[in-house]
Amino acid sequence: MKEQKVILELKDIRLSFDGRDILNNLSLTVREGTIHSILGSNAAGKTTLAYLLIGCCSYIPQKGKIFFFGQDITSLNTTQRARLGITLAWQEPARFEGLTVHDYIAVGMKQPDEEKIRRALANVMLEPKDYLDRQVDKKLSGGERKRIELAAVFAMEPKLAILDEPDSGIDILALDNIISVIQALKEQGTTVLLITHREEVSEISDVTSLLCSGKIVKEGKPKEVGIYFKERCIPCPVNVCPTSNTTLERK
């Protein structure tokens, strides 16, 4: 298979809060057109990585650089990065009183297209006619809100979509649907950085990177990394990977 272009590259990132490293020595390469998963236990630094990538929430690295198609974007703000084509589906998306689902989805589209908005909703199994005029407020369930988030990301047609635990808070029956949406993103040409703490979800990806204590400690085929995760990380009481001080293991 032809090597795809590098869409995203993180070089030796360190990010700390109050003197405590949340991400350290973090390097990562994501190739265009792939689903690349970041697998990690609770508190591994997954959401921190997502915020760092979209440049929000004052998550500025103390060290290291972020490249998007070779361009250094480390000092760009969230708007600038979004306009380059990077977006995030939040683990816990915000609520907006008075803003309709339709308008919330349309806001990120370069050219709002009614047909695309409907398709985006139908894709996440929300009937457009029931949801378009509803508000993205507290009255939506957590699961509905997360699906709308995915629909909005899909409709935006970003180059890189970071999905922070799209499967959390979604009932198990709907998991297949979430997976098919992720595949639809890939098919429309969006590269997906799929953040999850479930190895069975990471299995749909092309490459999995295992994040532990703010570092990528293993990378490779999703199945192999998943087995490692299940055997070594899930039972691990300290959440500090034994290999995290050694160099990155590659397959």
Binding site: T79, I86, A94, V107
Partner: protein, 312 residues
């Protein structure tokens, strides 16, 4: 006079009114410039008697028993010149088994030194419903004082909705005072949405008195202030009957050097009654802004989307 009428219609359209309704014979309307009635139309079951006074008009509105109006009644009040005073006195009597929806536009497109006072006494009988929507447009100078005052009473099994909005142009000085008494099995929904900037001053005092068994009331305020604008919202709900239920809900968003104050007053005088309240004042939520920025909006656009959603 004809010219005033044309200008009123123009201002009316700016305030998002649709002037075509003034030609529809199914729809009752009244257009008042300063203290002159420029146009009116009535429908069956509705009596609307305006009397021109020195500083404005007094208006007697009566909806006759068993009349359920199919279309809203449109009222348009205003002053076209830069200066002037308009006092509107309304006495409304909504008889039993009747329903009416009123859409009032108050337009002062060129206000530099204008005072607009409204003084309403509204009596709603039993099994009736009264919906009152008021939209204001004050132009961009801010030279206006608007002082609406209403005393409303609701009989049994009746329903009152009031929506007030002032979202385009300057507010000036706005001082609203509404007080409603709610009888048995009746309900009240009062809502106000205002966007203030420059040195606008917004004062709201809305009181609901739930005096009948099973009376219901919600008072909702949504205010956004920026620059040097000030707002003060007093929402009071008094529950004085068994099974009365009330809720007071105020959100104010501030930016720049604006200030906002919210005073929810919850006053329960019966052990079987309940009133709840929520109040929040603050900047636009950061996560909301960052969410929209991650879709490509800049910070200012994002704030606009959040505020206009809240005020919609």
């Amino acid at each position: 006079m004809q010219q005033d009428y044309q200008q009123m219609l123009q201002a009316y359209a700016t305030a998002e009114g649709n002037p075509l309704i003034f030609r529809d014979s199914r729809i009752a309307h009244l257009v008042v410039h300063k203290n002159k009635v420029l146009g009116s139309h009535l429908v069956a079951g509705l009596e609307l008697v305006p009397t021109e006074e020195e500083e404005g008009i007094s208006l007697k509105l009566r909806l006759i028993k068993n009349t359920r109006l199919e279309y809203p009644v449109h009222l348009c009040f205003g002053i076209i010149p830069e200066e002037g005073q308009q006092v509107i006195r309304i006495q409304a009597d909504i008889e039993d088994n009747a329903s009416i929806k009123i859409i009032a536009h108050c337009v002062f497109p060129n206000a530099v030194r204008i005072i607009h006072k409204m003084d309403a006494q509204i009596k709603i009988g039993d099994n009736s419903s009264y919906e009152y929507n008021e939209v204001h447009f004050h132009g961009n100078n801010g030279g206006i004082s608007v002082l609406p005052k209403a005393r409303i009473s609701l009989g049994k099994k009746s329903h009152l909705v009031t929506n007030f909005s002032l979202l385009n142009g300057r507010v000036g000085l706005f001082d609203l005072d509404y007080d409603t008494v709610v009888g048995e099995d009746s309900s009240l929904e009062m809502s106000a949405k205002i966007y203030g900037f420059a040195d606008d001053v917004i004062k709201l005092k809305e009181v609901g008195r739930l005096i009948g068994r099973n009376a219901r009331g919600v008072i909702k305020s949504r205010i956004a202030v920026k620059e040097r604008a000030q707002s003060e919202v007093i929402n009071e709900m008094i529950a004085d009957a068994p099974d009365a239920r009330g809720h007071v809900d105020c959100i104010e968003i501030i930016q720049g050097n604006a200030t906002a104050k919210a005073v929810p007053i919850v006053d329960v005088r019966n052990e079987f009654a309940q009133v709840t309240h929520e109040a929040a004042i603050g900047r636009v939520d950061k996560k909301q802004i960052e969410t929209l920025m991650a879709r490509g909006l800049d910070e200012e656009q994002a704030i606009d989307v959040v505020i206009s959603g809240m005020l919609k």
